[in-house]
Symmetry: C5
Subunit: 98 residues, 5 copies
């Protein structure tokens, strides 16, 4: 799974019937050490109610269909977790403000 | 899913029987912030009737077979949405002209 | 799917039993605007009888098994079309000589 | 499969129900000759009880669901082995301290 | 499929039960024109008895499970052929010594 920041939304009124009602979030992949964006973007379906600014990880490939939200749908990237913290070699590189 | 601009078409008269009658569109991946093309191209099957110049997103991998158009077909990239707008941190980077 | 030029063949006498009798072609990915090779190569199974010099597109991933030639076989790249022409924004970047 | 070093953990309290109870490890891909990190990170599910500092390899794609830990789950990267040693052309580039 | 040279082995005593008894080979991807290594490595399961120094190609993704050796196993890269020769535009870039 890949770490990313939710940076926006993508809206489509003309789409495959199977994806009606799904939210599409714009994600920017991040470096989990510096927490900087990598200027590399992906559109993901959201299975966890993530919002702009949150750090998430998403699953790619066929496993993107293995959530209740995306089952049977043409998904290749699905957010499956909102991240609370990232720890690297004993130090937090990220802690979510609560 | 990946954002791209439809930039053309690819025509083949000699192809696998299962893909007879399918439209093949040439897509150029875009940077969703600047909306510039990345000079990185993919051939996609079209499940939504997209046309040249439109911004779309396509699904990759096995999920490219999960549309009515592409079910059971050797597809690895299928357009599943024509994009109306892209919003990044409260600002539109793209709005479709209607 | 990805556009490529057939540039050669790969021969193996010692291989997995399931791929006996399959032709393996060496493909060089191309830039579909300049039609130049990208010096990036892949070995593909051939489902359409492509020959050296032809422009083709191939399908990757599990869908590479979705042709009559490759069904049930350990394929991750299968040529599914010989390209007649590529059109980008109203101009042909490639037209096959007939 | 790809060689990587376990460098940390990723914690999420808000995630897809199917992945409750799974450990998420932060991996840094390595060059198996120099054993240096490549500054390229992935979040993996752990099927073998790996710990920080260990060299592992993980499996990607649908096969990431083919362990007892990850079966039926939205996994695209699963650690399947802790590495004892890596040998390249007759020399060890890595030997685990026991 | 991708061309690579077998450059070594990876040994693990602590691994997922399903991959007990499988050989893990270290592959370096090659440029099939110059036959030089690309300093890009992958760990592959071996279905054909390949040895160090041999040129092979391996299959990625779900198709890596489509050999007798790897069926049902968490494999994403499996060697399916030992290469005898590579021909590019009428010239051999590689011929195996017999």
């Amino acid at each position: 799974m890949i770490l990313a920041r939710v940076v926006g939304t993508v809206v489509s009124s003309h789409k495959a019937p199977k994806i009606e009602g799904i939210r599409f979030l714009l994600l920017e992949k991040i470096d989990p050490v510096t927490m900087q964006g990598k200027n590399d973007f992906v559109v993901a379906m959201d299975s966890v109610g993530a919002g702009t600014g949150e750090i998430v990880f998403y699953v790619s490939g066929s496993s993107a269909r293995f959530t209740d939200t995306t089952q049977g749908k043409p998904a290749d990237s699905t957010i499956i977790a909102i991240v609370d913290n990232i720890e690297k070699e004993g130090r937090f590189t990220y802690r979510k403000d609560n």
